[in-house]
């Protein structure tokens, strides 16, 4: 069930040739009777960014939890560097180099930046911590990522959201992460801050890490991504390499063509100002080339041609 399209893969960086760092094959997750995730295929190799796109409730969090080792897939397989794995805790995933940077779980706000940076991985000198060395390493590592912090002794809660994300990212990089899972790192950020975070994602990629970037914003995903997995209601609605899809197609798919069109109709029929919004939405739909499918199935759009990669998407 592997994706055979290795040929148009992005230019070789380090690690090319070996099996992907992380690969899911037909992975699914059920919570009792609820199917949270079904038949997901994806992979990330060293020096690549795989973006996972999906609206709220699409199954992104479940996917992260599986990769991060919090949950085990209830069907399908999860491979790390070619060997099937079954993690029973995030710690085990971490030992294999899979680090997760959660949206808000990553830091303790009242603790200084350097303490947060080394939390759980303190550098000891005899029975005590080597504090000067830790502060210096923290400062240097942040500088290497291009973050010039005022003072590593300040509580991390006083940093901006973007800076906090970056500290968490550089922490994972410093502690030898091979694969970085970023859970909506740009969700709560402004335009400029998001740009900063995207810059660090690229920097992590250049350092040879595999990055799994979870987002619901195709405008953030497209510039940095090498592969794109689109999720909707727990299912994959497309898995593309960068050269198989355009930004607009991605946006169209994300927006869920049919739903968007229906929404525009609803708004229009509401009349008044809402109708105005509806008309503008409809225009977007047309511009994005979203084809409405009448049989009420999944709405693949103009990108249909590019979809149906063998085994990688299941309508």
């Amino acid at each position: 069930m592997s994706t055979p399209q290795e040929t148009p893969a992005p230019p070789a960086r380090n690690g090319k040739g070996g099996p992907p760092l992380v690969r899911l094959v037909d992975a699914g997750k059920r919570y009792g009777a609820v199917i949270a995730l079904q038949d997901i295929n994806m992979e990330v190799s060293a020096g690549e960014v795989t973006c996972v796109l999906g609206d709220n409730g699409a199954g992104k969090s479940t996917l992260i939890k599986i990769i991060a080792g919090l949950h085990q897939p209830s069907s399908g397989t999860y491979e790390v560097e070619g060997t099937p794995v079954s993690f029973s805790s995030p710690r085990e995933a971490l030992e294999r180099g899979i680090a997760t940077v959660y949206q808000d779980l990553a830091v303790v706000p009242l603790m200084p930046v350097w303490r947060n940076f080394f939390l759980g991985n303190e550098v000891n000198k005899g029975p005590r911590m080597d504090i000067p060395a830790m502060k210096k390493m923290c400062k240097d590592e942040l500088l290497a990522m291009g973050i010039d912090l005022r003072d590593v002794d300040q509580p991390i809660g006083t940093l901006s959201g973007g800076e906090r994300q970056c500290v968490a990212i550089s922490r994972a990089v410093h502690f030898g992460a091979k694969v970085l899972i970023l859970d909506e790192p740009t969700a709560a950020l402004g335009v400029k801050q998001s740009g900063v975070v995207l810059k660090y994602i690229i920097q992590a990629r250049e350092r040879g890490l595999g990055v799994i970037f979870i987002t619901h914003n195709p405008h953030h995903a497209y510039p940095v991504g090498d592969r794109f997995l689109l999720l909707n209601r727990g299912k994959s609605i497309g898995y593309y390499e960068k050269n198989q899809v355009t930004r607009d197609e991605l946006t169209g798919l994300m927006a869920g063509g049919a739903e968007l069109e229906q929404l525009s109709h609803e708004l229009e029929s509401a009349g008044g100002a809402a109708a105005e919004v509806g008309r503008s939405l409809e225009q977007d739909v047309t511009e994005l080339g979203i084809v409405h499918e009448t049989e009420g199935g999944t709405s693949t759009g103009a990108a249909t041609a590019a979809t149906q990669q063998e085994g990688s998407s299941r309508p």
Partner: protein, 352 residues
Amino acid sequence: MAQTTEAPVAPPPRADERVGQKSTLARLFARPEAGAIAGAIVIYLFFFIIAPPFRNASSFSTTLYVTSTYGLMATPVALLMIGGEFDLSAGVAVTSSALCASLFSYEFTTNAWVGVVVALALSLLIGFINGWVVVKTGIPSFLVTLGMFFMLQGLNLALTQTITNQVASPDISTLQGFGSAQKVFASSFTIGGVNVRITVVYWIVWVIIATWILLRTRVGNWIFAVGGSAPSARAVGVPVAKMKIGLFMAVGFMAWFTGMHTLFQFNTIQSGQGVGNEFVYIIAAVVGGCLLTGGYGSAVGAAIGALIFGMVNQGIVYAGWNPYWFTFFVGALLLGAILLNTYIRRRAEASV
């Protein structure tokens, strides 16, 4: 590990325009124990002025002794609070431990040290149960330890009554090993003509150890982390459950230590004593800058909080006031400290 080799050439160090010059005073006030230090100075001066006997070195030594009996417990209680939990059973646990040592060695006519060891096991077990229930169930420690508080209080009274037919434990001063145990737990020595109780020394040593652990070791880092944000701590691999259970057991350990002091100081233990002391420990920690919500505070602060307690406790006596004023003072101190701490923390956390 460190992939700093790829680092771009570090920009030349420069003064960052975003850092406002912080005055030394502002830096000092950003520390958790700042409010407590200010309060301690005010209270010391207050009693120094209105109560002439308070000025003697010997009465200050007595004040320190009273302080140390609170301070010994306030130290682990502060660590526990920094770790995000409470222990309401800490006050009666001291009595439980003392009663256990006393009754065990008396009833089985063993060496006093045997009772001491049995009591240690009991105290650690109480701490473990508190911690284990809190960690396993996720029930707030306030409720778990409140339950433990009442259970221990009942056990103290009921078992003592059943075993001895009295409300106090028998005098154990005739037992073998009593003398040596008393030397360890309840002796005193003289420096420059002033009698100093050994608990003062223990207290100061424990405060230093606790401060060192908190600020200089990995365990200290983890204590701050589990209290500041347990999910974050767990996410980076900190053993949250073990840390919390360990902190509860540290409180148990010190309850044993304090209990042993009480036992070998007075030879006998009233089964009803200790009730209410848990609040004194918690208040000392809060006055010393510990946040009720965890993740912030200091052992030195708790020590100063205990000192404030000791000074008020003795100052009222030396000033010749009705001792009932004491609880009023305690309440006022707590309220004042919380207001001050909130204010200080907001300033300390305020973005530049």
